[in-house]
Structures are given as C-alpha cells and as structure tokens.
C-alpha cells in the first residue's frame, strides 16, 4: 500500500562531478591548442588542391628502379632480424635483473635505469647518435633498434616475471636447486609463452622502424624513400611505400603464425590488455 519513501534519484545514470570537470578542462585545452595550429579555411583549401595534385602524381607507382628498391628492403629486413636477435639476447638478463621479486634492490635499480633510458628515445633519435658513433649504414640502424628492443622487451619481461606465482619457485628452491635451476625450472616455464609474444611483436615493430631509420642515414629503405621524396619522384615514392606496406603485412602474418604456434590462447590484444586479463586469471585462481 505504502509507496517506498526512500528518495529515488531522478536520473540513475547521473555522472559525478570530477569527470565533468575533466571534460570541461579537455575542451578548453583543445580550443587553446587547436588555436596554435593556425588552421584556416584558406589553408585547408590550398591543402586539398595540393593533395589532389600530389595523389595524381603518386599514381601509377613506378617500379622501374626495382634493384634499388629490393636492395633497400633487404637491408631493412636484415636490420630488423639482427636488431631483434641482439635485443632479445641482451634483454633476457637485463629483464631478469630488473625483476623485484627475484633480485635485491641494488641489482634491480641499475637494470631498471637501463630499461628506462633505452625506452625513452624514439629509435630514429637513437639512430642519429649511432650514425655519429659508427658512421652511416646498416650497423647504426641495427644498434639503434637493438636499444629500442632492449627497452621494450626488458620492460615487459620484467613485468611478466614480477607477476609469476612464487609457489613453483619455492617448490624448486626447496629441493635444494641452484639459482640457475630455479630460473630454468621455476621461472622461465611460467613466462615463456608471453616472452615469445613480446619477441614476435618486437620483431614486427623493428621491421616497421627499420624502414624509417634510413631517414637519418642509418641504412635500409628509409634513405631511398626520403631521397625520392625530396626529389619529388612521387611515383617512385608510391612504389616504395607499397613495398614497405607489403613487407610489413607479410611480417605481421608471420608474427601471428609464430604466436599461434607457441601460444594458443594469448594474442597481441591480451598483451595490451594484460591488466584485465591478469586480473581475470587471478580471480579464477582465487575461486
């Protein structure tokens, strides 16, 4: 008979205060920053005209200098393969040293510093420094991408080790196993599949970047691309871009294949949504 007297909010989906403040701040920022870009209709109009001209000169792609193209692409591929190999080999010990649950603080700090330092610069900037150190050519590109790989794989490998279950490590340790046996039988089996995941992802990413480091003279197809751009050889540019996209897609297919072989249930998306995936795993363990 009596209607419930508890106050029912008029709008059950009403937002709270802070998201609104944040949204307002974001809008103010967009207006402020957008004003600095100097966008005007006149500029967009001339831009669209330029775009039409540009695209008409881009097509049809000109593959007549294919020997130059193939040479550059092969060099990019070599840079990517070598940098990934070196990067993985170096990232393994560094990542292991940076794991807080296995190593004392005086080991983790230097290792973490190396990882942060190698992650903070874009490979192209690192490539500039290596070009100065070892001269123009593929070696500079390889070293630059190695540094990038150490940063990326090292960071994710460390996080993977820090998330392992220590029960198995304790069990192996309880048998009186040496430190290397603990690593080999307690730690590595737990992180192996994710390690393969990062490594294939990094190979993929190195392949993308190895086509770019040439812009600063560090070898690969990037140098050819940039030179063609500056000489307004737009039909050759188009040919190079199409080949790069083809190479990258091929690499992506290969990486997916490798990942599917080694890990059936973990995908790249899982890698990125690691937080939620791990939480789900932990919940199921608790149950």
């Amino acid at each position: 008979m009596n209607a419930p007297t508890a106050a029912v909010p008029a709008d059950p989906f009403k937002g709270s205060l802070w998201p609104r403040v944040a949204a307002l701040a974001l809008i103010v920022y967009v207006i402020y920053a957008g004003a600095q870009l100097e966008v005007s209709w006149a500029r967009i109009e001339t831009g669209l005209e330029n775009a039409a001209k540009f695209f008409s000169r881009l097509f049809p792609p000109n593959f007549s200098r294919h020997d130059l193209l193939v040479k550059g692409l092969l060099e990019s591929l070599q840079i990517a393969v070598l940098a990934s190999t070196l990067g993985i080999v170096l990232a393994l010990p560094i990542g292991l040293c940076a794991a807080r649950n296995l190593m004392p603080a005086w080991v983790t700090w230097p290792a973490r510093l190396i990882i942060v330092a190698s992650r903070s610069f874009h490979p192209v900037i690192v490539a500039i420094l290596f070009v100065k150190a070892v001269g123009f050519g593929a070696l500079a590109g390889t070293l630059a991408l190695t540094v990038a790989s150490i940063g990326f794989i090292g960071k994710l490998f460390t996080e993977a080790i820090e998330e392992i279950s220590l029960k198995q490590v304790e069990a192996v340790r309880a048998t009186g196993a040496s430190f290397s046996s603990v690593l080999a039988f307690g730690v590595l089996p737990q992180v192996f599949s994710r390690f393969i995941g990062f490594s294939t992802y990094q190979l993929d990413s190195n392949l993308r970047n190895s086509t770019m480091v040439g812009i600063v003279g560090a070898g690969g197809i990037g140098g050819t691309l940039f030179a063609a751009f500056q000489r307004f050889d737009y039909d050759f540019v188009c040919a190079i871009l199409l080949s790069i996209i083809g190479l990258i897609m091929l690499g992506e297919v290969l990486a997916t294949g490798v990942r599917a072989i080694f890990i059936e249930n973990a995908t790249l998306a899982d890698l990125f949504r690691r937080g939620s995936a791990m939480r789900r795993v932990r919940h199921s363990e608790d149950d």
Binding site: F13, L26, Y29, V30, A33, G34, Q36, L37, E38, V39, R43, G47, N50, A51, F54, L74, E75, L77, Q78, I79, V81, L82, T85, V116, S120, F121, H122, V124, I125, I128, L129, K132, A133, V134, G135, G137, A138, L139, T142, R208, N209, T211, M212, I215, V216, L225, F226, F229, L241, I244, I245, I248, M249, A269, F272, R273, G275, S276
Partner: protein
C-alpha cells in the same frame, strides 16, 4: 629458419671495420662536443618547440580517438553483423597502422606544408589503426547479457550503446587512450625531422649545424618530457582504472 635468417643477415650486412674501430673515439668526441650544455638556448627556442610537441601529441591522440571510434564499431562483428563492412573497417585500420607516422608526416607536409598541423594529422592517422583495432576487440569481448536485457526492454540503438556497451568498454578505452598518448609523445618528438613541427625541427637544425651543445639540451628536454608523460600516465591510470 630463424637461425638461417640471422646467419644470412650477419653475413650480408655491410660493416666497415674502420668505422667500428673508431666508434669509442667518436663517442668520446661526441660527448666532449656536447659539453657544456647550452642551457641559454632553452628559453628562447626549445621551450616553445617542446610545448608544440605536446600539443601535437595530445591533439593527435584526441583526433584519433574521435575518428577511430566509428571505425572500431564498424569492425566489431557483434555490433555490425556484416562481414564485408567488418573487413572494410579492418582494412582501414590495417592500412593506418602499416604506414609509419614519419611517412604520414611526409605526406601531410606535402599537402599542408611544414608545421604542427601536418604533425597532428600524422599522429592522428597513425593512431587510428591502433586505437580502432583495440577498441573494436574490446567491443567484441563485451558481455552480451546487459545488451540483451536492454534490447528486451525496447532500448534504441543509442541507449544500447551508451548503457550497454560503453560501461563495459570504458576502462579498456581509457587505458588504450593513455597508452597511445604516451607513445605519441615519443613519436611527435621525431616528426620535426621531416618538417612536421615540434621539437624535432629544433633538433634537426641543431644537428645540421653541428651545434652539439644545443643537441644535448634538446635531447635532455625530450627525455624529461617522456619521463613526465610516463609518470602522468601511470598516475592517471591508477586513479581512473
């Protein structure tokens, strides 16, 4: 097969031994030329360029979020149950990701001329593929329960989106956005090398003039911004998600 690839690459990569031998000497030379850092250079040029870099990264990310949402929705099979539409959306996402942001920057510099506008568009177009792919996958993983309940109650499409899907994908969406912004801060620092605005332009001119003391200041500034961005992202993620 992997071993064969490695061996072949080692054999064919051109290494000039003389260049490798004097590498330590060159590094020492580089470091001595970078010292002392030219901090007087920071206020008049580097600071403005650094701010421009941050604007490029932030506006580019926001633009990418706006553009990637519809594409991500079209790519999600449970929302748009039409395989051809899904495939076209996925093709858009793949082509956006396959082109490096430097190449996008070259294209937009060709179209709009040098400057921050080209950089912003390059960052946005490169990010669409990344954001759209992960957003589409998050949508596909959404639980069907709440959506079925909403459609059983006769909710229109817009309500199903805002009250059924959005609350489920919101954490994934914001973490993708933050992750991409972090990447974009790093990427926007190099776009200037091809003339697309930001601190890369200052770096390029300092490098071309061999003003290594200035190069060192710029590198230090980039390093600081990248670290700050990472701290901001970690803090915001902890508070929000």
């Amino acid at each position: 097969m992997i071993v064969v690839a490695i061996v072949l690459s080692i054999q064919t990569v051109e290494v000039i031994p003389e260049f490798l031998a004097d590498a330590p000497e060159q590094v020492a030379d580089l470091l001595t030329r970078m010292w002392p850092l030219d901090f007087a250079y920071y206020p008049d040029t580097v600071h403005a360029a650094l701010m421009e870099t941050i604007h490029i990264a932030s506006l580019g990310t926001l633009l990418a979020l706006v553009l990637a949402m519809p594409v991500g929705i079209l790519a999600a099979h449970n929302l748009v149950p039409s395989t051809p539409v899904n495939l076209v959306a996925k093709l858009i996402l793949v082509s956006s990701r396959s082109v490096n942001s430097l190449v996008w920057a070259l294209l937009f510099v060709g179209i709009f001329g040098p400057g921050a506008l080209a950089g912003t568009l390059a960052i946005a177009f490169r990010s669409i593929g990344f954001v759209g792919k992960l957003f589409g996958e998050a949508l596909e993983e959404a639980q069907p329960g709440p959506i079925e309940a909403l459609s059983a109650a006769g909710a229109p499409w817009a309500s199903r989106m805002t009250f059924g899907y959005w609350p489920q994908v919101k954490p994934a969406f914001w973490s993708i956005a933050l992750f991409r912004w972090d990447i974009n801060v790093r990427e926007s620092a190099v776009l200037g090398l091809v003339g697309a605005g930001g601190i890369g332009m200052a770096l390029d001119s300092a490098l071309n003039l061999f003003q290594w003391t200035r190069v060192a200041v710029i590198l230090l500034a980039i390093f600081a911004v990248v670290i700050i961005a990472e701290v901001v992202v970690t803090q915001v993620r902890r508070r929000m998600i």
